[in-house]
């Protein structure tokens, strides 16, 4: 594998007696969609939190695009091109859909200490925002207050905001969470399209989606990466079946 775009080195995090991340070495190659799966409590959200800068790891390092970002605060990682979506919808509910994305664009555009011009009239904020909304299929809803959107549309908006800064890589935390079958299918299509332009780390429970999208899969159990490889290989891996896929099939049956 060529130099990974995102790489963790012996990453570790505990909360009291609970090990959330256990000596994790993970690498995501440029252009690939890398899925992270695992049973509940495996530490997937904690991993994303550390990668995005919301949480500090106890030990280990994180490298992105050649930089050591372990100690870098959230907003600086975003500036480097590492964008994140949230598992639980975290939007600006009292602002309009377009305002939401425009803020994300503004974050990257800089020059936010401007006190006079009406930001809602600035084309270099509005146009990229509209473009991001179009990419996720929410163009028609741009003037609605974000609170008025359905859950599925919220997930789309989440994605649009992550895309607004033209990131190099997306950290997606369960984008399918709470979506019905139609909405999930649409999200998978969307991600397939995005995959061509971006590197993606995807944390997901929805196995169908994972196997449809992922180039490589890492399985996390109790914070430890127990297997990593192509989806077919992971499916066939005995350890993985025992620890995780076994219970999935039991619940599906």
């Amino acid at each position: 594998m060529s130099e990974p775009l995102l790489r963790t080195e012996n990453l570790a995090k505990r909360f009291g007696g609970i090990v959330a991340t256990d000596d994790l070495n993970l690498g995501v190659a440029p252009g690939e969609l890398h899925a992270v799966i695992g049973p509940n409590g495996a530490g997937k959200t904690t991993l994303i939190a550390q990668l995005s800068g919301q949480l500090r790891p106890d030990s280990g390092r994180i490298h992105f695009a050649g930089h050591d970002i372990t100690a870098l605060p959230m907003h600086k990682r975003s500036a480097l091109g590492l964008a994140r979506s949230f598992q639980i919808t975290s939007l600006f509910l009292d602002l309009s859909v377009l305002d939401n994305v425009a803020l994300a664009v503004q974050a990257h555009a800089g020059h936010s200490f401007r006190f006079w011009r009406d930001a809602r009239n600035e084309t270099d904020l509005r146009e990229p925002a509209r473009a991001a909304l179009a990419r996720v299929g929410l163009g028609a809803r741009e003037d609605r207050p974000a609170a008025a959107l359905s859950h599925g549309e919220h997930r789309q908006l989440e994605l649009a905001m992550a895309l607004a800064g033209n990131p190099r890589m997306l950290l997606l935390d369960e984008p399918m969470a709470g979506l019905g079958p139609e909405e999930s299918a649409r999200m998978v299509e969307l991600l397939l399209a995005l995959k061509k332009e971006l590197t993606i780390l995807l944390v997901e429970h929805d196995m169908e989606a994972v196997f449809a999208l992922a180039d490589r899969v890492t399985v996390l159990v109790y914070g430890r990466g127990i297997a990593s490889g192509a989806p077919a290989a992971i499916r066939a891996n005995k350890d993985v079946r025992d620890a995780y896929l076994g219970e999935q099939e039991a619940t599906d049956a």
Partner: protein
Amino acid sequence: MTRASAVRIAITVALFAALALLPLYAHLTGDRFMLTLFTRIVILAIAAVSLNLILGYGGMMSFGHAAYLGIGGYAVGMLAHEGVYSGFVQWPVALAASALFALIIGALSLRTRGVYFIMITLAFAQMAYYIVAGIARYGGDDGLTIYKRSEFVAPLDLSNKVQFYYLCLLLLYGATYLVWRLVNSRFGMVVRGARSNDMRMRAIGFPTYRYRLVCFVIAGTLCGLAGALLANHNDFISPATMYWTRSGDLIIMVVLGGMASPFGPVFGAVALLVLEEFLSGITEYWQIILGPLLLLVVLFARGGIDGLLQAIGKERSA
């Protein structure tokens, strides 16, 4: 433009026009008291507008905003006491002192959130109160009389009540316009986003602390201007202006008027102070009515007067 917003805009314009015509009314009816009352209302409206910037738009629940009224006022008072009457010196000093105080307090307080922030801003404002009350040279607890109003260039004469009223009104218009432009600018969007979802703002790349701090300083400076005006209006300044319950009065004005627009606080100041006058005419224990009334507003009319106007507008267009 929707029907709803038309009602709101019409009433706002009407209010601003009424304020402009007030001195004429006072002159025709010979009611000098009205002019005095409304000068005070206009000045406190400036303070309320400045508070709404951080409270309504910024989500920063500062319970120490009245401190800036005191700082601005004492800048004028202290300089006057030392024989410096020029407004060209006094007022910039008032603004600078308010800005500096806001910078220091903001830098410390904005590291906290929610309830802590409320309590800390309150405590710091009280600190200012105690400091000023402890300086005997400038009157201490009893306050400081100001024998001459701020001097500018002729023909502007602040001791002329009508001129002074129009000066204050112009500054109110200016302050409201300034806040309006501010909250719609890029800077304003960051502050509003930070109020809506601070974590998300940081996640998308904004170091929200510094934006909040700048917003806090702007609001404090604007309120310091109101303080300078107030000192001139009363020809007097005392620590009581900064007592924390006065900050509560300002918050009431903002919430009562409505926090969703820059004009709301003007409604609030007018409503509260007119209501006070009215109620105190009925009984000297009018706060017994005002207190529970406030609680009711909080429970049932949270959007304030501005919110009610929006609601009325919507019903009529439905």
